[in-house]
């Protein structure tokens, strides 16, 4: 996982290395300061050597100034390195998502992807920054301080050889035992948030069934177990501070006792008062660095789950790739399904389509009717290769779709999806998704065909009207018509409308179909609809049921020969059928 993530460091490698180097310089300079200190005390104060006092003082100041510059540089470059790393990660993630096939898109929720690009990347960014600063600083401080302590007085420094492992073991045990409990805490946290979320979203259900008290109990239970587990975990972590102090104090007491004796017995030669002060400084440095190290470890473990979630995304191998040197020209709009089977989970999973054989001549208008889950959408999604058939072959213009360059194929086969989306921006900008270079006249022309020009022109800003995110400021019917116009701008050989006029009134719906018939005679038009009226004048109608073709024919033929078609027709005849689409 780590190596995969680190690939995104790229151009910020040098900033990262500079950081590490600068931190090292800072640490070395910092450890020299206490070492010079004993000279000041012994020679300067006790010895009364003012000259030496000033010289050493200047050395120390020089060290501090270098440490200051190095430290600031480390901070500066680590910001560049970690933020740059994060930016690259986001870019790479975004790039991977753009490579997603439809099947991949189905696997990840939008919210999940957004979390990965934001929160998870931020966690990794912080961990990276910690690593190149603290994770370098702490062990270096430890090592240098130890060395210097040994140089100052190896006898007393032996204490650290005992203290360091003891403290380290203690800190390790705390992490070791608290970490699994924290994992549980996070799970309970999720459960708690789950209960809240359900209650916020489903509050009408809760209130109308008068279940407030039960929900309070449910929450109380989760909140209680969160309290218990969290207290347990934090209770373990609470040993950190006292343990740290205990070890420091024990070291101090021993250093003072042995140190004082050594000074006195050796007559201020083997150990001096100055050296004793220096040793005390190092003791603090060594033990704090251990503490920092354990903090870094905790940070990294927290970031690990974020890292794991991030690498999940690039791990998605696009399940659908454009062939090299694929065909770019589509001969005509004829479509053939030859023994096509299809399942969303590959050949093992449940089949969404099975045994499909169908020929659609170029320029025909085809209606598709069928219940939910009957395979209508799956069928048309195979034409622009939004998914690949599990077996069999789908052909456009007499050629297997897998032989086409993907962009050319999708430009030639326009789909207006069931889940229509407009993006924030002007109407014209949205329409130009279909053709970046479309002239204003072409926009108007496409909107006329889609029966959208009339309402667009009625807006004060006309084609420059701003569409809100999700297209919330136009009605469902208007949105559908704009989406159709957008698809028309591709001048496709095949146009697929997947239930795209459900919110459009029947009269306008008829006008759209009439316009298609008159102005797009060469385009193959495939219309999935709930309303019989939307398909009854089609050249051929395909009735889908349970992933199979149940019948093919014209309206009159099917009315005579197909039971499902007749049922749908009758249910709509006697009831009238106008639905109110609230998108």
């Amino acid at each position: 996982m780590t190596s995969k993530l680190l690939k995104s460091v790229r151009q910020y490698k040098s900033a990262s290395l500079i950081t590490i180097f600068a931190v090292a310089v800072e640490v070395i300079m910092e450890t020299i300061v206490p070492f010079l200190m004993y000279g000041i005390i012994d020679d300067g104060i006790y010895g009364g050597d003012t000259q030496r006092l000033i010289t050493l003082g200047i050395y120390m100041l020089a060290c501090v100034v270098v440490a200051l510059i190095a430290g600031a540089a480390a901070g500066w470059f680590s910001a560049d390195a970690s933020c740059g790393f994060a930016a690259n990660l986001r870019k790479d993630l975004h790039y991977s998502v753009q490579k997603f096939s439809f099947a991949d898109i189905d696997r990840f929720s939008t919210a999940g992807l957004v979390t990965r690009l934001t929160t998870d990347v931020t966690n990794v960014q912080n961990a990276y920054m910690m690593t190149i600063r603290m994770a370098v600083r702490a062990p270096l401080t430890l090592i240098f301080s130890l060395i210097m302590a040994f140089v100052a007085s190896w006898k007393l420094a032996l204490i650290f050889l005992v203290a360091v492992p003891v403290l380290w073991c203690g800190l390790y045990l705390i992490i070791r035992f608290s970490h699994p409990i924290f994992e549980q805490v996070f799970h309970i946290y999720d459960a708690l948030n789950g209960v809240v979320q359900e209650n916020v979203s489903g509050i009408r259900v809760v209130k109308s069934f008068v279940r407030e008290e039960d929900e309070k109990r449910k929450f109380g239970k989760v909140s209680d177990s969160l309290y218990k587990k969290f207290s347990k975990a934090e209770g373990l972590v609470a040993f950190n501070q006292p343990l740290m102090r205990l070890v420091i104090y024990v070291c101090l007491v021993i250093v003072f006792w042995l140190g004082a004796r050594l000074i006195v017995l050796s007559g201020n030669t083997e150990l001096t008062t100055g050296k004793l002060t220096t040793l005390i400084s190092y003791a603090m440095g060594i033990l704090t660095s251990l503490m920092q190290l354990s903090m870094v470890l905790v940070m990294i473990t927290i970031a690990r789950s974020s890292g794991e979630r991030i690498v999940e995304v690039p791990d998605v191998r696009p399940s659908l790739a454009s062939p090299e040197d694929g065909a770019t020209a589509i001969k005509d709009g004829s479509i053939d399904f030859e023994g096509v089977d299809f399942g969303y989970f590959g050949s093992e999973g449940a089949k969404a389509l099975s045994g499909i054989n169908l020929h659609i001549p170029s320029g025909a208008t085809v209606g598709i009717i069928g219940g939910t889950g009957s395979g209508k959408t799956s069928l048309v999604n195979l034409i622009p290769r939004l998914y690949d058939a599990t077996s069999g072959s789908v052909k456009v213009g007499g050629r297997d779709v897998r032989e086409y360059d993907l962009t050319s194929l999708r430009d030639g086969v326009a789909v207006v999806l069931q889940k229509n989306e407009l993006f924030s921006g002007t109407i014209a900008e949205n329409l130009r998704w279909g053709n970046l270079n479309a002239t204003d006249e072409q926009l108007v022309e496409a909107c006329r065909l889609a029966q959208a020009d009339e309402f667009v022109s009625s807006f004060p800003d006309k084609y420059e009207t701003h569409i809100e995110q999700g297209g919330t400021n136009v009605s469902g019917g208007q949105k559908q018509r704009l989406c159709i116009a957008r698809a028309l701008l591709k001048s496709p050989s095949v146009l697929i409308l997947d239930d795209s006029t459900s919110a459009v009134d029947t009269r306008t719906d008829a006008l759209i179909r009439k316009a298609f018939r008159e102005y797009l005679p060469d385009t193959t038009k495939i219309i999935i609809a709930q309303r019989i009226s939307s398909v009854e004048d089609a050249d051929m109608i395909v009735v889908m049921d349970g992933g199979k073709i149940d019948g093919v024919g014209t309206h009159d033929q099917l009315l005579k020969a197909n039971r499902i078609y007749r049922e749908v027709y009758e249910s709509q005849q006697k009831g009238g059928d106008e639905d109110e689409s609230k998108q």
């Binding site: 910092e30 200190m37 000041i40 104060i45 009364g48 000033i54 100041l61 100034v65 190095a70 430290g71 480390a74 901070g75 500066w76 910001a79 753009q98 997603f100 096939s101 439809f102 898109i105 939008t110 690009l117 934001t118 920054m129 600063r133 708690l192 948030n193 509050i203 009408r204 008068v210 109380g220 909140s223 934090e234 972590v237 609470a238 501070q241 102090r245 101090l252 006792w257 004082a260 007559g267 008062t273 005390i280 219940g371 939910t372 939004l386 999708r410 989306e421 998704w433 009605s475 019917g477 208007q478 009134d505 306008t508 749908v568 709509q572 009831g575 009238g576 106008e578 639905d579 689409s581």
Partner: protein
């Protein structure tokens, strides 16, 4: 959306209230832990006095003796060790206790918040975005946790350390103390400067992050459209520009934040050197009674003195974030709850020999409204489902009236349908019947009783609901059906599922009725969720029903199944139907056509068709319902 994005605003009252939460719930514990913090901090600072004493009073004189005796030193060291031991014990005590304090306070805040939330009127949920409500439980509570368990003890300890070490420093040497104070002032100025720049840029970073957030959310939502239009490159270019901006701001913010600590550290070191130099010079010159021991002690003391300033400065932004979070949490807790002045209750009843209703405790299938009157008498009215609205006016805000002069009469067992465009007021009417909202003017009577007099819980229990947003909960299918009535047996739940035409598909689920549903029933189709919601309402078996049909996403054949379920559910009950497909309401007793909050047409299907008015044009599809 993000807590840090919001302005950190809070009042002194909030701080006081938060402290109450922390202190009041744990008075004893809190007191003990603060005493412990006090002792442990003083013990820590006291260590430096021992340093001075050992150096000046023991090491220096002993050096001059030929046969040094160490008993005095040993006693001194033992005293030092015992004070340190007390310090360690106190640290242990307060570390453990503060965990309890913080976790307990958080638990009571969480519980109070949720319990309060359950009592809030629907209006609160309609007017606050879900994400905002959620973030009280996540972001806001999280910052509080950090505040209570880390910042609070640290700030207290820091304050004590500053005072204690400053006192000792003054005692030892005024001149050296001045040096320390001057350096500290410099530290404070530098901190203010740098963290100011950091805060400014962090705010910019949050804005940039929110922009990226919005962009990818929109794009990923429409990712299929992006693919269909081969728009990947443009999407990337758009993203790269925003990403670059975010990078720039976050880099600046982090640069400031990152250089602060090393700079403060080294200023601390400069102070260390200055003290050694000045102290050394003074000691050599014998000025102001400064000894080597004093210099050594000062070196440690100065670190104890300036360290807390750094620590507090690191905590400041977190503390203000925590207070801002507390402010938002208290705002939720202070929301006025749904009021309920109802005193008419729903009770089980049976008929005695004379056919009079008598209250009883067992389930009889007969319910009665128990109506206490001012003169102390009680009357029982049989629950029948007769609902009347007379001249009702209503607006979600006083300025904007949504319903005007609406009158609806539904006799027991009747089916009343509402038809009209989005925003015409259909759902609003049903919101009034179960008192999710209260009417501004007019009357609503249930079995002849003013619904304001009925206890809300009982009113709602007498009204079944199948909502457009068929919300299912995490749990098994069986549990979801039982949601309608807690004491329903498995058999009753299955019977309800059969009635709702749901039994068939439930049995085909991997674990049948024990299949776990998660994510609001994500694994089921819209139609299947609807069927479970119908079963849920059926198990409650109320005399009156409100059906907000959401069938626009269900195809006509599945809808038939749903419709049959609904029809069976409606049989014999007073039902209000909000129709999305006119085919489903042809057989209604009354159809109300709503337009802009008024009933513009009413009658049955045949009479409305004959009228050739608005219903007719809706029915024939000449009208776009939008």
């Amino acid at each position: 959306m993000k807590a840090s994005n919001k302005k950190a605003r809070y009042s002194a009252k909030t701080v006081k209230r938060l402290m109450n939460y922390i202190v009041l719930h744990n008075k004893g514990i809190f007191f003990i832990s603060f005493i412990s913090i006090l002792i442990s901090t003083v013990a820590d600072v006291a260590g430096s006095i021992f340093t001075q004493l050992i150096v000046d009073d023991y090491i220096a004189p002993l050096l001059t003796e030929a046969n040094p005796v160490f008993t005095g030193l040993l006693k001194m060291i033992a005293a030092m060790a015992s004070i340190y031991l007390i310090g360690v014990l106190c640290t242990l005590v307060y570390s453990k206790l503060m965990v309890l304090v913080s976790q307990r306070s958080l638990k009571s805040i969480r519980d109070d918040m949720f319990n309060k939330m359950q009592s809030l009127p629907i209006r609160y949920f309609d007017s606050n975005p879900r994400g905002d409500i959620m973030s009280h439980y996540t972001n806001d509570t999280d910052t509080l946790r950090q505040f209570i368990s880390q910042a609070l003890p640290q700030v207290f300890a820091s304050a004590i350390t500053i005072v204690a070490s400053f006192c000792i420093m003054l005692y030892y040497s005024r001149i050296l103390s001045v040096v320390v104070v001057v350096v500290t002032v410099i530290i404070l100025i530098v901190t203010a400067k740098i963290s100011g720049g950091s805060t400014r840029n962090f705010i910019r970073q949050q804005t940039a992050l929110a922009t990226v957030d919005g962009y990818i959310e929109e794009m990923f939502n429409g990712q299929k459209v992006v693919k269909v239009f081969c728009h990947e490159r443009q999407a990337e270019q758009g993203f790269d520009a925003l990403n670059e901006k975010l990078f720039d701001h976050s880099r600046r913010a982090n640069r400031y934040a990152n250089i602060l600590m090393p700079i403060l550290n080294q200023i601390g070191n400069i102070q260390y050197v200055l003290l050694a130099l000045i102290g050394g010079a003074l000691a050599v010159g014998g000025v102001g009674g400064i000894t080597a021991g004093v210099v050594v002690a000062f070196l440690t003391l100065s670190k104890s003195f300036s360290m807390p300033f750094q620590q507090i400065s690191q905590q400041v932004s977190m503390i203000s974030m925590a207070f801002a979070g507390a402010e938002r949490i208290f705002a939720l807790i202070d929301e006025p709850p749904e009021t309920d002045d109802g005193y008419v209750t729903l009770v089980n009843a049976r008929e005695d020999e004379e056919g009079k209703l008598v209250e009883c405790s067992e389930r009889t299938g007969i319910y009665a409204w128990k109506h206490p009157h001012g003169d102390g008498t009680l009357t029982y009215t049989r629950l029948a489902g007769d609902i009347r609205m007379v001249d009702v006016d209503f607006g979600y805000t006083p300025e904007k009236i949504v319903l005007k002069g609406v009158s609806v009469y539904a006799e027991p067992g009747q089916k009343v349908a509402f038809v009209g465009a989005t925003g015409a007021g259909k759902t609003t009417i049903t919101n009034l019947i179960n008192r999710f909202y209260d009417i501004a003017d007019g009357k609503i009577r249930y079995d002849g009783i003013n619904i304001n007099k009925i206890k809300k819980a009982d009113l709602r229990r007498s009204l079944g609901m199948v909502l457009q947003d068929t919300y299912l909960f995490t749990g098994t299918v069986m549990e979801n059906i039982r949601y309608g009535r807690t004491d329903a047996t498995d058999e009753e739940c299955i019977a309800a599922a059969k009635l709702a035409n749901a039994d068939d598909f439930i049995r085909r689920l991997p674990d049948g009725y024990n299949t776990m549903l998660t994510g609001a029933g994500a694994g089921l189709s819209q139609g299947q969720r609807q069927l479970i919601a119908i079963a849920r309402a059926a198990v409650a078996n109320p005399p009156a029903m409100i059906l907000d049909e959401a069938t626009s996403l269900i195809d006509t054949r599945t809808e038939k199944l749903v419709q049959q379920g609904m029809d069976k559910l409606m049989a014999g009950r007073t039902t209000f139907v909000i129709a999305h497909r006119l085919s489903t309401i042809r057989n209604s007793d009354v159809i109300m056509v709503l337009d802009h909050g008024r009933i513009v047409e009413r009658g049955n299907h045949e009479s409305l068709i004959a009228k050739k008015g608005m219903y007719y044009s809706l029915y024939t599809g000449a009208f776009e319902l939008e």
